[in-house]
Structure formats: C-alpha cells, structure tokens
C-alpha cells in the first residue's frame, strides 16, 4: 500500500475544507466526485467556474470545490446564480444543492429559471428528506416513508423532479443514481457543454437519516436498492419516470437546443443599439 501519490482529483478540492462533513455511506461525496471527474475530463478552466449551493448537507459542495463558490441562503442558490450568469455570461455557473433546497423553499426559483432558460447548470442530490435538520419529510419523500415528521408514514405525493424540470422547459434533463457514476459523469460533461438551463437529478443514499428509518441502515443497502431497481430508459416520457421501491427510472430524458436567456438578451442588446445609432 503506497501513499505518497496525491489523489488524482485533489487539485479540484479545497484541501483546507477536507475531509468533508458527510456521513459514511452518504452519496454527496459521490456527486462531488463525479462532478470533479467531469471537470477533469473536460479540462475546464477552474478560474471561469462558479459553484453555487444552498442550504443542506450537499450545500457544502460549493465550499469543497476549488473554484469561485458561494453558499447562499436556503433555497436561493438559483436566483443568486442567475445574477452571476447574467452579470458575466463568460462564467460557467453550476448550482449543486438538495431536493429540499431546490424544490421546497426554492421551488419557485427553479421553475422560473428553467422557464427563462437561464444558462445555469443545476445538479440536485435527491436524498428523499431533510438530512441536515435530522430527517424531516420533504418534497421528494416517497409516499408512506417514515421520517421524523411523518412518523405514521408520508401522506404527501412526492415531486417527480425530471418531469417537473422537463415541464418547466429545461433544455437538458437527466436522472441517475450514485451507483451510475460513469453515466452521471458523462451526463455532467454533456450538461456543461450545453447552452441554457440544464438539470440532473442524482438519487443519492442517506443511510444515517432517511435509510435508518426506512429499513436501509447502510449506504450499501441503499445502493443495492438502486442496483436492484434502476432501469435505464433514455428519452422515455419524463412523466412516467417513477421512483418506487421496485423501480427507479434513470437516464437522459431531455436534450434539446434552445437559445439561452443571456444569449437572447445580448442579441437584443445588439439589435437595439443598432437602432439607437440610426436615430
């Protein structure tokens, strides 16, 4: 066992912040891993990258990536990122946050950013509950699941995030689990090379908080669920992309070309300034 060599991805991480705060078996580390893996494969200029996150366990990701990063208030990562992207379209702006942050308190921002087609890239780690606050029911908590606030089983219908994103107008929509690291990495690469609003949902294990209350005490057990249940159905109907204990539909669901808000805006600028000169 040799140890002198540094980890190949260490240059993408803020050594001062390592090790991360996440529990053993938590999928957030895999999301971060795949994200930097994609950066590595794309040889992306880190000086032009901005990572924005909201509140929640995964919200720490911004702090861990060795790029310009901002850890906003709960739910506000997307509008903050919108400001950044519009102010400097040269920047690659990536929002990495959780299901509660992006789709409960931040839900309105998400659908409008998608509608406007702002050129920001959103990765959502979906762990089915509010992990950081100790495991409360959230917008993606499956029906009948047990959480600290649904002790008798969840009676709220969860969001189908890929359906929501597709319906809101995202130009790229994919879902993978933390077991599909290769596809997730490729998917992130594809997303980073696209124009307009993109969204990837990563179904991620939360063994300590969610799993514990739902008969999946370890990360391995949750990963086994993913292995057992996930089926790759690329470009299938997002509205049918279910997540149940029997079936997790993963894949790329949307990949279309649509002019981004910022590009559109600057085209307009050019036009009106043409006119202005004529006057």
């Amino acid at each position: 066992m040799v140890q002198e060599l540094p980890h190949p991805f260490s240059k993408y991480l803020r050594s001062a912040m390592m090790p991360h705060i996440w529990c053993s078996g938590c999928g957030n580390g895999i999301v971060l891993n795949c994200f930097v893996h994609a950066l590595d494969e794309l040889q992306l200029d880190l000086d032009k990258l901005v990572v924005v996150s909201g509140i929640g366990c995964i919200g720490r990701t911004a702090g861990y990536t060795n790029a310009d990063s901002f850890h906003t208030t709960h739910g506000r990562a997307i509008p903050f990122a919108t400001g950044v992207k519009l102010a400097n379209p040269e920047l690659e702006v990536v929002v990495i946050s959780g299901d509660g942050d992006l789709f409960a308190i931040g839900g309105n921002h998400f659908i409008h950013a998608a509608r406007r087609n702002i050129g920001i890239k959103v990765i959502c780690a979906n762990n089915f509950n509010y992990g950081m606050t100790g495991g409360q029911q959230g917008p993606t908590t499956p029906l009948e699941s047990i959480t600290n606030t649904t002790p008798y089983g969840n009676i709220e219908h969860p969001f189908n995030l890929v359906h929501l994103a597709a319906a809101s107008g995202a130009t790229y929509v994919a879902r993978w689990t933390t077991l599909h690291v290769r596809r997730l990495t490729q998917s992130i690469k594809r997303m980073l090379q696209k124009e307009g609003f993109c969204f990837i949902e990563v179904v991620s294990p939360c063994p300590e908080i969610f799993g514990r209350q739902n008969k999946m005490r370890t990360g391995l057990e949750m990963m086994e669920w993913f292995r057992r249940s996930s089926v790759v159905e690329n470009f299938s109907d997002p509205s049918k992309a279910e997540i149940t204990s029997e079936k997790i539909v993963v894949g790329e669901f949307v990949n279309v070309t649509k002019v981004s808000y910022e590009k559109f805006f600057h085209e307009k600028l050019a036009q009106i300034n043409e006119k202005a000169v004529e006057w």
Partner: protein
C-alpha cells in the same frame, strides 16, 4: 454615439422614480433585478428601457426574494447592482439583505415607502419602514440608509448610495416615499465627468494569498469578483477571513459580527449627512426627513415670520443614525419637534441622542403628509 444611449446630463423634468433610475445609471449600476410593486414600479419600467441602452442587465424576477438574491450574485460577478421595491417586497428581501451584510456585498436596495402594515395603502406615502431598514433581518449587522426628500435627491442620493455600498461593501438602502417617487420636479443632471463615482477596492494580494474577508485598516476587505482567478469562497455561515465556515468557533463569530457593525460605526463621520437650516440661534428645532422635511422647512420659515426662533435639522442619512448632529442641536435648543409619517420610529433615536432636551413627536398616518401648519402649531406649542 446618439443621445439616447448616453447618460443624461443637463436640466430635466422627471419624477422621483425616474430620477432614481437615472441616478443608478449615472452611478455605474449595470444590473437591475426587481419585481413590480407600487409605488416603485416606474424605476423598473424605466430601467427596462434604459439598462439595455447602456449595455446593462435588466431582469424581472419571480419575486423580491429572487430579485435581491440575483442582485447579490451580480455584485459578486462584478457589476454594480440594484433592486427597488416597497414595504411588502422590502419585507421579503430582509433574509437576503442579511446575506448581503454577512457576505459584505455592495448593492443598493431602494424602498419606496407606502402605508403599511402588510399590503396597507399601496398608492399613499409612509415612513413606516425606517426601523426595518435598521433591524429588518435577523442577527446583528449594520447597513446604511439614506432618505431623499426631493426628486433631485432621488437622483443624487442614489449615486451616493452606490458610492457608500462600494466603499464599505455593505447593502445600502434608499428609503424614499410614495410622494418623492411620484412627484415631478426639475432635476439638474451634471455631466458624467462631474459626478463623483466610488468603486470597490480590488485586492492587491495574489490569488494564492487572497482572503476574501481579510479587512484593511478601515475594516473593509478588498473585494475580488468571480472569474478573476481568485477562486474564493463566500458563505452566509459564520466564516473566517478566508471565507470558510467556522460555525463552532465563538471568537470567529465575535470578531466577524463586531467588524460588520464597526466598519460602519467607525466610519460614521464620513458616512453621515444632514442639512442644517437656521439652527444657529434656534430655540426650537424640527428634526425631519424625507417628504416631511419639506413641510417642516416651510413651517420653520412661518415660525421665524411669527418671531419664533425655529430651525430645521434634515436627516439625509437615517442609518447610521446622525447621533452627533442631533446631540449638538439638543444642547442649544429648548425643544425638538419630530414629525414622522408613522407611529414614532426615528423619534426614539432622537430622544436617545437628545438626552434631557424635551422631544415632542408629531405623528401622521394616512393619505397625506403633515401640512406646514400642523408642524408650525407644534413649534409654537414647544416654543
């Protein structure tokens, strides 16, 4: 270059909202994010036309929360950014005004005050948000708040607000009211070259060394922007000077919060602006701000005609509170009259500063501000 695309200059007839918008442009603001709300809507409408002409960004967000968040983002990306709203929107913004304070984000928030609470009186003036401007968001922090009382000042103070925001890396609030916003007046716009513009300090340290929250002697840290190669981190969590979360450390917390407040209080003298009228020999002083100050001025003149030695202290800066100017007049006058379009907000600060000098409060709520007569009566009573 055609006239339309340039910044304005010369003499113009406009309303307060437009003056504010033009002031922002003159100050170098190139990003506006907002959400329609009376009586601030014209600012957005005007900028939606003017921003593009000057190559700036205008965007209407899904709500005021998003608007302020976008403004903070734009500021970190290097643009001077502003949003404008009124009471209800101002309340929604408080969360991220706190974030702006915590992350020391230079930005301007315009609050055109209307009758509250809640939806209140959308089309009528008020001064009920001035305390919210100080205490609106949770936790201890300091902001700067200015109060224009004319359309000309809507223009001037907007520029001033940007300069202060940039100088002190602090969210700066322009607390206008429905009347100054909708009133049409003559505005003299100096040529761009004659307007003083302050820009944020850029770091001298190389990317490797740079800490985003390492303060200079004035307690204000130089500010790098995204994409400049500094690869820094900022967070709403309690953080050290490198910007990294230190949620468990009491000394980091104490150091940080103190500095956030002191970078304003220590620079109070440089920040605070007041207007003093006929105070040299005054027995009775009126302390007023915003639109009310204009009624107060004519009331003071009336009193002088009636042989009462009255004077006016007009607060241009509301926050940090002009402690010293108020204390000064308190020493030389018998009484102080404070008219406000609320149930008594700034008056408490005046009382605190005036110490023993009696302060009488003149409240006005509803569709119109105090008449000069009402204020005159109060002066006479206290003379």
């Amino acid at each position: 270059m055609t006239k339309k695309r340039a910044l304005l200059s010369g003499v113009h007839f406009m309303n307060g909202d437009i003056a504010c918008a033009e002031g922002a442009l003159a100050a170098g603001c190139r990003f506006f994010a907002g959400y329609p709300i009376t009586p601030a809507t014209e600012i957005a409408e005007h900028l939606s036309r003017r921003m593009p002409e000057l190559g700036g960004i205008y965007i209407q967000m899904e709500d005021e929360i998003a608007s302020i968040a976008a403004v903070i983002g734009a500021s970190y990306a290097g643009l001077k950014a502003m949003t404008a709203t009124s009471g209800p929107g101002f309340s929604l913004m408080q969360e991220n005004i706190g974030l702006a304070a915590m992350t020391e984000t230079p930005c301007v928030i315009v609050d055109i005050m209307r009758g509250g609470p809640s939806t209140g009186q959308p089309t009528l003036p008020g001064q009920q948000d001035v305390m919210q401007a100080k205490w609106g968001s949770h936790g201890d922090y300091a902001t700067i708040a200015l109060s224009p009382s004319s359309v000309q000042e809507m223009f001037n103070l907007t520029i001033e607000a940007f300069n202060l925001a940039e100088a002190y890396r602090v969210p700066t609030l322009l607390m206008g009211d429905e009347i100054v916003a909708h009133m049409w007046e003559k505005v003299v716009v100096p040529h761009a070259s004659e307007i003083k513009i302050v820009n944020r300090k850029k770091p001298s340290a190389s990317p490797g060394k740079y800490g985003p929250f390492v303060p200079d002697d004035d307690l204000v840290p130089p500010m790098a922007c995204f994409g400049e190669g500094y690869r820094f981190h900022a967070t709403g969590l309690t953080h050290d000077e490198m910007g990294y979360p230190r949620t468990q450390s009491s000394e980091v917390q104490a150091k940080l919060v103190k500095r956030l407040c002191e970078k304003i209080s220590r620079n109070e003298d440089k920040i605070v602006k007041v207007e003093e009228v006929m105070l040299e020999d005054a027995d009775v002083a009126v302390v007023a701000y915003g639109i009310v100050a204009r009624a107060a001025l004519s009331a003071v003149r009336k009193a002088r005609e009636a042989g009462i030695k009255a004077g006016l202290l007009r607060l241009i800066t509301l926050w940090p509170f002009p402690e010293k100017p108020v204390a000064k007049i308190a020493n030389q006058t018998k009484a102080i009259v404070v008219p406000e379009m609320n149930c008594g907000q700034i008056v408490r600060e005046v009382q605190r500063a005036a110490k023993t000098t009696p302060v009488s409060f003149l409240s006005k709520l509803g569709e119109e501000p105090h008449t000069p007569k009402e204020i005159f009566e109060s002066i006479r009573r206290n003379a």
